[in-house]
């Protein structure tokens, strides 16, 4: 989901508030090594030589690449690998854990939670399973359950992951001060050099400020995430939207065209169509709108739960079909009862001329 930009605050120099001395491996090295690991594991898999732990690792690596490059095809590949893994290793808790993660990516939350229960019965690490449960509870709006598990994790080990999870929960609940405290503490606890965890954390922090309407802060953190991982599509996309909101439309359009061409996620084409329409460039806007619509139709056919919210937003704005948006927003609320899901439903209901039963 792309949060609405509410104001045009003046932006200071990009990333100025972020500690530049917090050194992490260059994004290009991290990505080359990630790609090399995936290539090697995929080769072993094709040769039928990959062990169950190796296959679990491959699921995680492919998902990670998808998260960085914004490639839905990677998430689909990870899900396919995980489904096959469970078929081949039905006694492995790790296999069910991998499938739970893959299913949660596509918002198959009930199935993911069921997989986590099986993984627990098969002996997987309860702390790891609880972290996954907490993330799933948070995604479906069970914030109190998520908070209880996050707190236990912090008590067990206060590190970037556990504190970062607390931060994102508070951010989602709109408790900015508490979230900021946890984001900061999480960052300070980081003891590694991999750019991925820090870039993902900073990205979440940027999203929080974006949702809160503070473009200055949003830009600082999104820019830091993008600086650490120059191929981080989601960070680049949101940064482009901020640039557009602040008036640097051409730079934003260039970035979004590049993303919309390289990524199979229609979010970028959606943003592009919206900004072009606002700029009065109807013909090009129409081209991107059609591309986004076509892609959303494909994705809704395959993963309705996962893309219902993004697609609803598309049909509400660039797609200009509020009835379709309403149907998708209702689908979204069926799987996740979060404040944002209800807000989207209310918005869609108003746009389509009625009131949603929420």
């Amino acid at each position: 989901m792309t949060p609405a930009l509410k104001c045009g605050a003046t932006i200071a120099s990009t990333g100025a508030a972020v500690d530049r001395e917090f050194v992490t491996t260059a994004g290009v090295i991290a990505l080359v090594n990630l790609q090399a690991q995936i290539d090697g594991q995929e080769r072993q898999l094709r040769a039928g030589r990959l062990t169950t732990p190796g296959r679990v690792e491959l699921v995680d690596l492919v998902s990670l690449r998808g998260q960085v490059l914004g490639r839905i095809s990677d998430y689909e590949r990870a899900e396919e690998l995980a489904e096959q893994l469970v078929d081949d290793a039905p006694g492995s808790g790790l296999a069910f854990l991998a499938r739970a993660r893959a299913r949660a990516r596509f918002h198959r939350f009930a199935e993911a939670l069921a997989d986590l229960d099986v993984a627990q019965r098969l002996g997987a690490d309860p702390a790891v399973l609880d972290a996954e449960r907490a993330a799933t509870f948070q995604a479906i709006g069970r914030y109190d359950d998520a908070l209880a598990l996050h707190r236990e994790a912090v008590e067990r080990r206060a590190d970037l992951n556990s504190l970062g999870a607390m931060a994102t929960l508070y951010a989602e609940r709109g408790e900015i001060a508490a979230a900021e405290r946890f984001f900061e503490e999480s960052r300070e606890r980081y003891r590694g050099v991999s750019p991925f965890p820090l870039a993902f954390l900073d990205f979440q922090r940027g999203l929080m400020w974006l949702a809160h309407g503070d473009l200055h802060q949003a830009r600082v953190w999104l820019a830091d995430a993008y600086r650490r991982l120059p191929y981080y599509a989601a960070a680049a996309g949101h940064l482009a939207e901020i640039e557009a909101a602040l008036g640097d439309t051409e730079a934003a359009l260039d970035q979004l065209r590049s993303l919309a061409t390289s990524s199979d996620d229609p979010d970028y084409a959606t943003s592009l169509a919206r900004i072009l329409r606002e700029e009065g460039r109807a013909e090009e806007a129409h081209e991107w709108r059609v591309k986004a619509a076509t892609r959303y139709e494909e994705l809704i056919a395959r993963h309705a739960a996962a893309f219902a919210d993004h697609a609803a937003e598309f049909w509400l704005e660039a797609g200009a079909d509020p009835q379709r948006a309403l149907w998708l927003a209702q689908k979204n609320v069926e799987v996740r009862q979060t404040p944002r899901a209800y807000e989207l439903l209310r918005h869609a209901a108003q746009a389509s001329g009625g009131a949603a039963a929420v």
Binding site: T25, N33, Q44, P53
Partner: protein, 380 residues
């Protein structure tokens, strides 16, 4: 596995994960000491070093302070460092491959530039440096080691399965002329530690390596430790300065060693390392001084690994260089030492050599396997 995946942090980011360190006099060139630091377990083709890490050796002059039951080294405060740092890659290799350059800086002033994977390496006064992909020289039967811990019975077989068979890693190899780099004033004993450090103004020790399997074999099992049964101790241990352990967790390391070392001693059904009245194992303090000691005045020999320490414990003078040669069967030596103190038949993991043994000339570690098998899969 020697030091592969020796803690959650190493598992999370293999580019900082030290797999091994080897320290030995050159087999063919007198007066040359060789330092090898390997990282990135099961490194895939095309893997690169991090540009955010200092890959370094720390070398200190040492002497034998005492022999017999209280065997110990005395290590000087003087220190030589050899710090390798790598740049972000650039395009320009054959077939569009990325090229990575590195610089090795010695505390004695030499600066050596290297191009990763260039077998000729780079040179400066008294130093020669290689960095790049190589075949991992470590060999061990990891499955049988786990089985040994689970069943509390020696489970190694002959032949064993080398779980590291055909795997690759990233290597840094430094040849140094002892007289040129260290001068003539030092005693011939040196204590060596390998480290990965986060670079920049806020440095953090990510991993360290002194002797193989201190973390994965000796410290990792939790079940025997009545003091800290739930503690994953290895990341804490990795953060310590090997030459000066901090006070915060020293008791925890001692407790873990004093719990686990007797387990290995019991594996042959008899006690070769009786504990003292405080429950302290005779090897605990020697192993907590976790650095590799080499004698540059003594000859390289097969099975020189731990020879200095073993002779110290017996109260006799060592005859070899100690340290660790690439082809040493270091796991047989370590397990034999832990299980029967050399008083019984050798404990063997049943493997005997690396996938392809090291060569006797620079850069010693053999070229990478172009088609490695899956990591961790048993292979006879």
């Amino acid at each position: 596995m020697s030091d592969h995946a020796s803690g959650p942090r190493a598992v999370a980011d293999p580019v900082v994960d030290i797999t091994d360190m080897y320290v030995f006099p050159s087999p063919e060139r007198p007066g040359i000491l060789v330092l090898v630091l390997n990282v990135f377990p099961s490194a895939p083709a095309g893997a690169l070093f991090s540009d955010a890490v200092d890959y370094r050796f720390r070398v200190r002059p040492a002497v034998i302070a005492s022999s017999g039951a209280a065997a110990a080294f005395a290590v000087s405060e003087d220190e030589y460092t050899f710090n390798c740092r790598f740049a972000a890659p650039r395009e320009g290799g054959t077939g569009g491959q990325l090229v990575q350059e590195g610089t090795c800086t010695a505390s004695t002033g030499q600066v050596v530039s290297v191009r990763v994977n260039d077998e000729q390496g780079g040179q400066a006064e008294g130093l020669r440096v290689f960095a790049g992909a190589r075949m991992d020289p470590f060999f061990f039967d990891g499955m049988r080691a786990v089985q040994t811990i689970m069943t509390q019975k020696l489970a190694f077989a002959k032949p064993g399965n080398n779980t590291n068979f055909g795997q690759n890693c990233l290597s840094m190899v430094i040849e140094l002329e002892v007289a040129t780099v260290f001068g003539a004033k030092n005693s011939p004993l040196f204590a060596v530690v390998g480290e990965t450090m986060r670079a920049g103004s806020i440095t953090i020790r990510l991993e360290r390596f002194g002797r193989p399997e201190v973390k994965n074999v000796i410290l990792f099992p939790k079940g025997f430790d009545a003091v800290n049964r739930d503690l994953e101790i290895r990341d804490l241990y990795n953060q310590e300065d090997a030459f000066k352990l901090g006070p915060s967790y020293l008791g925890a390391y001692r407790a873990r060693m004093n719990a686990n070392l007797p387990f290995y001693d019991r594996l042959d059904g008899k006690t070769d390392w009786p504990l003292d009245a405080n429950g302290t194992h005779p090897l605990t303090e020697l192993l907590l001084a976790d650095f590799m000691v080499v004698d540059v005045a003594k000859p390289l020999a097969d099975h020189s690994f731990l020879e200095i320490e073993r002779m110290m414990l017996k109260g006799v003078t060592h005859e070899t260089c100690g340290g660790r040669w690439l082809n040493d069967d270091s796991m047989d030596i370590l397990l034999t030492t832990l299980v029967n103190a050399g008083n019984g038949p050798p404990v063997s993991i049943g493997i005997g050599q690396a996938t392809i043994p090291a060569t006797r000339s620079f850069p010693y570690v053999v070229p990478p396997n172009p088609n490695p098998p899956p990591a961790g899969r048993p292979h006879a």
